[in-house]
């Protein structure tokens, strides 16, 4: 093809559009959650097995680093959840044009962050 290609692309001006940003975060958060599965299953096991393991788990989770990790996973879950609901809405044709795609992306980012802060504050 000898079609002329655009020259002097201003790479610093090219941005991933907001829906694309939400999309890649959906992937990243999903992958993070999958990688955290053994940890989460272990936590479930410790929390249910006996009062001793439950107390042990609570002591570990009281550590600031553990809390930070849990907060990160909470955000990953909430973002994945909200972005997933947005995809279901798109599949059901509730999101029809670019304007709505952008607005719903904003809603996903804001709501998932807000819920992370609210639930995080409630848990600690």
């Amino acid at each position: 093809m000898d079609k002329e290609r655009p020259k002097h692309l201003a790479l610093h001006l090219i941005q991933l559009p907001l829906p694309g940003f939400v999309s890649i975060l959906h992937r990243v958060s999903g992958l993070l959650l999958f990688l955290a599965l053994p940890l989460l299953l272990l936590m479930l096991q410790y929390s249910l097995r006996s009062i001793e393991t439950y107390t042990q788990l609570m002591a570990i989770l009281a550590h600031p680093l553990a809390k930070l990790l849990l907060l990160g996973l909470l955000w990953a879950f909430l973002h994945h959840f909200c972005a997933g609901l947005r995809y279901l809405a798109i599949d059901l044709h509730f999101v029809r044009d670019l304007e709505q795609a952008r607005n719903s992306s904003k809603v996903v980012i804001v709501v998932s962050l807000l819920l992370t802060v609210l639930l995080g504050a409630k848990l600690w």
Partner: protein, 115 residues
Amino acid sequence: MVSRVVTGAHYGLRDWLIQRITAALMAVYGVALAGYLLLQPHLDYDVWTALFSGQPMRTFTLLFLLSLFYHAWIGIRDIVMDYIKPTGVRLAIHVLVIMVSLLYAIWAMQILWGM
């Protein structure tokens, strides 16, 4: 054009649809569990284990986890198909994810029914 039916065998739509059905199921379970826990005035070991002592809760939790593993398998496979091209590496990751998910499923049953 051949008319495609969702219930037919091995269309791309099958995985696409399963991912959405498992997502809806997990969303319902997640919201219900979060709502129940947030409404508890004192969430301690007794409340937590009492919740998981009934057969229906254990069954739905297992259903949730199985949905999660299937949902995650489709998602991971999509990511692998996009970024990893060599067939050998791709196959190795696919096999690894499936084996790990099956082990998780067995582990989940041991957790839920062995408490």
